[in-house]
């Protein structure tokens, strides 16, 4: 087997070191193979070894898909190394595949010369047929361009576990830990943390704990005795992290913690009202699991009930928050206009998924931007924010809450299924540094009118029911500026429409001017993105800068209103490319807003952009001006 060990793999970029900066590993198996647990433990050990990382779980929509089928394959990808990891990786260096179906659905992503580790025992006739292989890929040239390591994992794991007296079923299910042990050997990892985790996690079922520990150790020992070279793929770099306390966090977890921070920093209750939908349900679960003071979760009967309950909560003096995915956001639409009209704070989270309609619920897309900006009846402007990375979701939720409270407005946060489920290390902020976003509830009855405005923000006063002498009535009927009485006066409607628009525009005054994320201030090509495409765009620009090209990455966290300085910045480039997982929604916005000839780089596959795709698009733009040279 040693013969299959190869020299260090190529880096994604051009570097001289023998060791790669980063390595991409993907585990793939049946939904029941424990791939997600395996991935999470592998990621934890990578973090503890000082690597930066991004993980990307890719699981099927079916809850219990038939065993061995291609649509039941669950996968977990991780890119780890240093100095900085921006994406889960374009191409896989090491693929660990537990059955033929997993090989079939994942092999295309393995780079030429990459290593595939197979559970040989699972390549039975039956499993091959279920995966749609007529000839076993172990017998033809399917794997010719890769390094292959065939191991009967199930049998070896079974032998190792036998001593613990575990049943066959328990032994079978320990396979993932055997594979984890082997990868730990390959990357020189310590087993202590995982051993501790297994012992704690399965404390109540000691036979399972013993079996999993035996499997982990056996996988490790197998690597050692068979001398599976640690240089098969090479040892990636350590990350250059700023000092601090770190944890691994998914976008969903970061959002939940961001809302907890909002409750704390605002000193009021956050009421999260939602109706289950993939991939937004995770936020409802995460917030419910916090069982935290200051947070109440409410599973409503439908999406508009969730939105209106959140509005009711805000009216009642809490911060109402509602979340869903595209189809559910559409159902909330009527309620959002009510929140605009009554000028109440509201945070709306859209964890976007591939649409239209049911679309591909577990796949990511950014096609709800236009809906966020324009998808309401009447002139109903709201603020729209988009986090760029999983960890950034924490700050985005805090910002959204601050804007909603300060400007008395709905704020939409556009995440997506990728950012929600991907994980990365996060430096935990010092809570003393978090801003005070406490609302200034009106309590003084002197000259009170519900629709007078703050001179700077144009926000109307927020009054909690229960406050003496401030009883008043609000509603969706047009209100007279100031008094808030019902008004059908033509000039008043113009005034109120203008005020609601201007109020959103003024949010820009509190935003820092937009800066280039990476690259030159003026030059050939600026690639503009928003949301979860951040990593791919940034990595692409880094690599092209290394080649000496005059390019830049600009990333929008605020889409309504746009951060100040964007137009000037964009005009400094020969080409403005806008990369989005939709058919050009931000691109059209920038074109209409600034009258610049921005061009779209668009992808609708349900998968994140690959760095290579983005690089190719930027190169093509440069070549265009150079008359097709290179």
């Amino acid at each position: 087997m040693g013969s299959q060990a190869a020299a260090a793999i190529d880096d994604q970029g051009s570097h001289d070191q023998a060791a790669p900066e980063r390595v991409v590993v993907r585990f793939a198996g049946d939904s029941g193979d424990g791939v997600q647990v395996l991935g999470a433990e592998f990621a934890k050990s990578a973090a503890l070894s000082g690597h930066d990382l991004i993980t990307f779980p890719d699981f099927p929509a079916e809850i219990r898909a038939p065993v061995g089928t291609t649509f039941g394959v669950s996968a977990f990808q991780i890119q780890f190394g240093g100095p900085k990891v921006l994406t889960p990786g374009d191409a896989v260096d090491v693929l660990i595949s537990f059955n033929p179906a997993a090989l079939k659905t994942n092999l295309a992503d393995l780079r030429d010369g990459g290593l595939v580790i197979l559970d040989e025992g699972a390549f039975t006739k039956r499993n091959l047929a279920k995966a749609g292989y007529e000839v076993s890929p172990l017998e033809d040239d399917t794997l010719a361009t890769y390094q292959v390591l065939k191991i009967d994992i199930a049998r070896r794991c079974g032998e190792a576990v036998a001593d613990t007296g575990a049943s066959k079923k328990v032994a079978d299910r320990a396979k993932n830990f055997w594979a984890l042990g082997l990868t730990f050997w390959m990357f020189g990892r310590k087993r202590a943390e995982t051993q501790k985790w297994i012992t704690e996690k399965f404390a109540r079922i000691p036979e399972v704990a013993a079996a999993n520990l035996a499997a982990l150790n056996a996988g490790h020992a197998f690597g050692e005795t068979m001398e599976i070279g640690r240089d098969v793929v090479g040892q990636p770099l350590e990350a250059s992290f700023a000092p601090g306390t770190y944890r691994s966090i998914t976008g969903i977890d970061a959002m939940a913690k961001g809302l907890a921070a909002a409750a704390c920093c605002a000193g009021i209750k956050v009421a999260y009202c939602s109706y289950p939908i993939t991939p937004a349900s995770g936020l409802l679960h995460a917030l419910a699991a916090l069982r935290s003071k200051g947070i109440v979760t409410f599973q409503a009967e439908d999406e508009i009930a969730a939105a209106t309950a959140a509005i009711g909560a805000s009216y009642g003096g809490a911060l109402g928050v509602t979340g869903s995915s595209g189809p559910g956001i559409a159902l909330k639409s009527e309620a959002l206009s009510l929140a605009v009209s009554t000028e109440l704070p509201l945070v709306v989270v859209n964890v976007q998924r591939a649409g239209p309609s049911t679309g591909m619920p577990t796949k990511a897309e950014q096609a709800d931007l236009s809906m966020a900006l324009y998808g309401r009846h009447g002139e109903a402007p709201i603020a729209v924010l988009a986090p760029a990375t999983p960890a950034e979701c924490f700050q985005t939720m805090l910002d959204a809450a601050a804007i909603a409270i300060r400007y008395m407005t709905p704020v939409m946060v556009l995440a997506d299924g990728y950012i929600a489920n991907a994980a990365e290390p996060w430096r935990i902020p010092d809570v003393a540094d978090l801003p005070d976003i406490a609302p200034d509830f009106r309590v003084d009855p002197e000259n009170f009118q519900p629709f007078t405005r703050d001179e700077k923000t144009l926000a109307r006063p927020w009054v909690r029911p229960g406050t003496p002498e401030l009883q008043h009535r609000i509603g969706g009927i047009e209100k007279a500026d100031g008094s808030g009485h019902i008004s059908y006066d033509p000039d008043n409607h113009q005034t109120m429409t203008d005020l609601r628009t201007e109020k959103i525009a003024r949010i820009a005054e509190m935003l820092p001017p937009i800066k280039v994320e990476r690259g030159v201030e003026r030059g050939r090509v600026a690639i503009v993105g928003w949301g979860s495409t951040y990593g791919a765009l940034n990595a692409a620009v880094k690599e092209l800068l290394d080649e000496g090209l005059e390019v830049a990455h600009i990333h929008l966290r605020h889409i309504s209103p746009l951060a100040p300085g964007l137009e000037d910045l964009l005009r400094g480039f020969d080409h403005v490319l806008v990369a989005e997982m939709n058919s050009g929604q931000l691109c059209r916005l920038l074109r209409s807003e600034f009258l610049i000839p921005a061009e779209g780089v668009n992808q609708m596959t349900g998968k994140p952009f690959k760095v290579a795709t983005v690089k190719a698009a930027i190169r093509a733009a440069i070549n265009k001006t150079e008359g097709g040279a290179s």
Binding site: F241, A260, A310, G312, A313, Y315, G317, G475
Partner: protein
């Protein structure tokens, strides 16, 4: 808080804009009087409504008020309660608001059992949109959208509420000033969701649809006013009685000429089957049941929520602990 309140304390300076003669005026009067009698200060009272003639209600009650969107008032009110369970929250809507577009929300507000007072102003028509038939219109109702008479059968609001798991279901009628305030008082006192169906006359689009209930004299013959622990008798001379037939779950008239007071069943508010039978009396000489048909309190949603400690704020130290839950590591 012992200051004596009057209906005036719950009256806004807004001009009431219902049609002259609309049953909503009488309901408004009863509601104001009831609020004054209950004595919660106006700033602790919230009125939430959807859209419709009935839903104009909050503008006319001097309390906190929220006129929301069609059908969704029960959900908005639920949110208000989530924010502040100490408020006295009333929800007002029409039959279209509560039973068509908002049917789902009503169903869930009732079974969830938050402490809300839900007033269904049932005129069996869409008033605000100029007279289309509604989910409570009887078969054959001629309206702009059903010129040949409607064909779909009406929903029985009280029975729907009982089916949804409501723990308080009552009925009254707009002009029954000697009855409605009492029912409203009971609804407000009930901990949990309480539904009061108020038969309301729309003089413009569905006049006299509840004929027989509006005046006291007529109502003696056409309705039975139920009272817990009292025999189910009606008629000017209290000479007619009702018996609950447990074999078929229906109400029947006591024998003519017999002593109704003696023969009639005794009303038991906590008997769900009896409430179902009372709410579905139809045809022949059977009266329409008014009053508290069902009241059997259980723990309301708010009281359980509170036990879960959500109503205190989160301190910075507590937040810090939460941010550090699960595994962390240090980078020097």
């Amino acid at each position: 808080m012992n200051q004596v309140l009057t209906a005036k304390d719950f009256t806004t300076d807004q001009e009431v804009r219902w049609c002259p003669g609309c049953g909503d005026y009488a309901i408004l009067k009863s509601v104001r009087a009831t609020l004054a009698k209950i004595g919660r200060p106006p700033h602790e009272v919230v009125f939430v409504s959807g859209i419709g003639c009935a839903a104009r209600f909050p503008y006319y009650v001097d309390s906190y008020g929220f006129h929301t969107i069609h059908g969704r008032a029960p959900a908005v009110a639920t949110g208000v309660k989530l924010a502040n369970p100490n408020l006295d929250v009333w929800v007002v809507g029409g039959d279209g608001d509560f039973l068509s577009i908002g049917g789902n929300h009503l169903l869930h507000a009732l079974r969830r059992n938050m402490d809300l007072n839900l007033l269904l102003l049932n005129n069996a028509i869409y008033g605000l949109t100029k007279g289309q038939y509604s989910p409570t219109s009887s078969v054959g109702t001629r309206s702009p959208s059903t010129p040949g008479g409607s064909v779909d059968r009406p929903v029985n609001a009280a029975l729907m509420a009982l089916g949804a798991g409501a723990r308080f279901v009552a009925r009254s009628a707009d002009t029954l000033l000697d009855h409605l305030p009492e029912v409203l008082t009971r609804a407000q006192a009930h901990k949990g969701a309480s539904l009061v169906e108020i038969f309301q006359n729309c003089i413009v689009y569905n006049d006299a649809v509840w004929a027989g209930m509006a005046t006291k004299a007529e109502s003696f013959e056409k309705t039975v006013r139920v009272a817990h622990g009292e025999p189910l008798v009606f008629g000017k001379e209290r000479d007619k009685g009702l018996v609950f037939d447990s074999r078929n779950g229906r109400m029947e008239l006591t024998e003519a000429g017999g002593d109704a007071e003696k023969l009639a069943s005794i009303h038991d508010e906590t008997n769900w089957a009896l409430a179902c039978a009372l709410s579905t009396m139809e045809g022949g000489d059977l009266p329409t049941a008014l009053g508290v048909l069902y009241c059997d309190p259980v723990n309301d949603y708010g009281s359980d929520q509170e036990a879960r400690n959500h109503f205190t704020t989160l301190s910075r130290d507590e937040l810090s602990a939460l941010l550090h839950d699960g595994g962390t590591w240090e980078v020097e």
